[in-house]
């Protein structure tokens, strides 16, 4: 049997999630956790801890210095928020690619990163926008850069007795642009074969976030000053910076295809990010 427990305080959620005598799983949108739950009761968690009742202040809070995304913020919420679309275009685009309308109405950003799929749609955008993950425990709170959050397939630095409570994004420096693109086998309700977010920062830094080409989403730097409009010059630069990718063959694609496509998507996404800086300056 599965016990449903709705937590109303972070301390209560932490206590149940940290118990060692029962398998407890955190529930937000349920779009990953509940897949097949009804058919797999023998391997199901003993307790499902619903976190949607945790008092969260303003779930999606915008300040002068950035945006704080709380536990209950869904992909649909991110898509609908004008500040997210303006400051973090790659994140809004990624949120809009997740699943379907019905999935986006339930799936949360925090749940998406905690599920820690190597193909996590929002991770590449969070990486290039320098997101920080706020993690609570009985001992207090720590803040981890998203680049250190993922430690393996379906594994994060968030321990059993800890709980992610928010994702914080710094306000981009003026002139920053970003974009997200992913390759799928069909338009709706598919996981990424390869995904790439690119940011061209107003201070000159150029970064790529890569999904589905390594055990975890990756963040790589493209040398500042690289001409993103000259494909012949860009390709050898990309070959060098993308060497860190270690794609595998699986049901969605072969390793060679992924390696070829990550370069192609990187080039296209960098160009789209550059174009988005021009739009914000116009």
């Amino acid at each position: 049997m599965v016990t449903y427990y709705k937590a109303h305080a972070v301390a209560d959620a932490l206590e149940v999630l940290g118990r060692t005598d029962v398998e407890a799983k955190a529930l937000l949108g349920g779009t990953d956790l509940l897949v097949g739950l009804g058919d797999r009761l023998d391997s199901a968690p003993g307790v499902v801890v619903d976190l949607k009742g945790l008092a969260d202040g303003e779930p999606l809070a915008v300040t002068e210095s950035g945006v704080r995304i709380g536990l209950t913020v869904t992909m649909a919420d991110l898509l609908a928020d004008p500040t997210v679309s303006t400051w973090y275009p790659a994140l809004a685009q990624a949120a809009g690619e997740v699943g379907s309308v019905a999935i986006r109405n339930r799936a949360t950003l925090v749940g998406n990163i905690c599920n820690a799929s190597p193909a996590c749609d929002t991770a590449p955008a969070l990486l290039v926008h320098g997101a920080q993950v706020r993690i609570a425990s009985a001992a207090g709170e720590r803040v981890v850069p998203i680049s250190e959050f993922f430690v393996g397939p379906r594994a994060t630095t968030c321990a059993r007795d800890e709980l992610v409570t928010a994702v914080e994004l710094p306000r981009p420096v003026p002139g920053t642009g970003s974009a997200f693109q992913r390759l799928t086998r069909r338009w709706g309700v598919d996981l990424a074969t390869v995904s790439v977010a690119a940011a061209v920062h107003g201070d000159g830094r150029i970064q790529l976030g890569l999904g589905a080409v390594a055990p975890t989403p990756l963040l790589v730097d493209v040398p500042a000053g690289t001409d993103l409009t000259d494909r012949a010059a860009l390709d050898p630069v990309l070959d060098e910076v993308l060497a860190v990718a270690t794609p595998i063959s699986d049901i969605r694609a072969g390793a060679d295809y992924r390696a070829a496509m990550v370069r192609e998507l990187a080039a296209r996404t960098l160009r789209a990010a550059l174009d988005s800086t021009r739009r914000t300056q116009a």
Binding site: T3, K6, G30, V35, G38, V48, A76, V101, A102, N105
Partner: protein, 164 residues
């Protein structure tokens, strides 16, 4: 709490406008509770993993896959199923589905109707592409897609002109 002993949950929710109370095991999905506990079998069970959209209902006015929601989660919330949108007989949208031959085997239609009503509630006059995007989570193995899109388009046009 005494975790592990409280496996049954009593849920009180507004289902199609009526307050309903029912008791379910913690793992029971909203989809299964609607069909088994509440006798609302209009909502269909197919993939049970959020891929096909046959189980689409509205939760507090938002389209969701009821196979990916626990019944326990809807305590205190409002659920609208296909029975709730057509309480007075068929709707204009359902009539349009029939007129366009969009209903072939029919199994996906309740979910298609719910997704279409959700789209029209937020975008009363969608383009063909907007309809295709909004309903990409609803699969039809009879491949009636063009007819479904036409039915939604026609309904939107009629509703917009009626409202003037």
């Amino acid at each position: 709490m005494s975790v592990g002993t409280e496996s049954l949950v009593t849920v009180t929710a507004t289902i199609n406008g009526e307050p309903r109370t029912f008791t379910v095991p913690g793992h029971r999905t909203l989809l299964d509770a609607l069909r088994s506990e509440l006798g609302l079998t209009g909502t269909k069970s197919s993939c049970t993993e959020g891929e096909c959209g046959a189980c689409t209902v509205m939760l507090d006015g938002h389209a969701v896959n009821s196979c990916l929601v626990l019944a326990a989660e809807v305590d205190g919330h409002e659920v609208l199923t296909v029975e709730g949108v057509s309480v007075d007989g068929g709707t204009d949208l359902q009539q349009a589905f029939l007129e366009h031959g969009a209903v072939q085997c029919g199994f996906c239609i309740p979910g298609q109707v719910m997704s279409a009503e959700y789209l029209l509630s937020r975008n009363p006059d969608p383009s063909v592409q907007e309809i295709r995007d909004a309903m990409s989570g609803n699969l039809c193995r009879c491949a009636s897609y063009n007819r479904i899109v036409e039915a939604v388009r026609q309904t939107a046009t009629k509703r917009v002109s009626t409202r003037g």
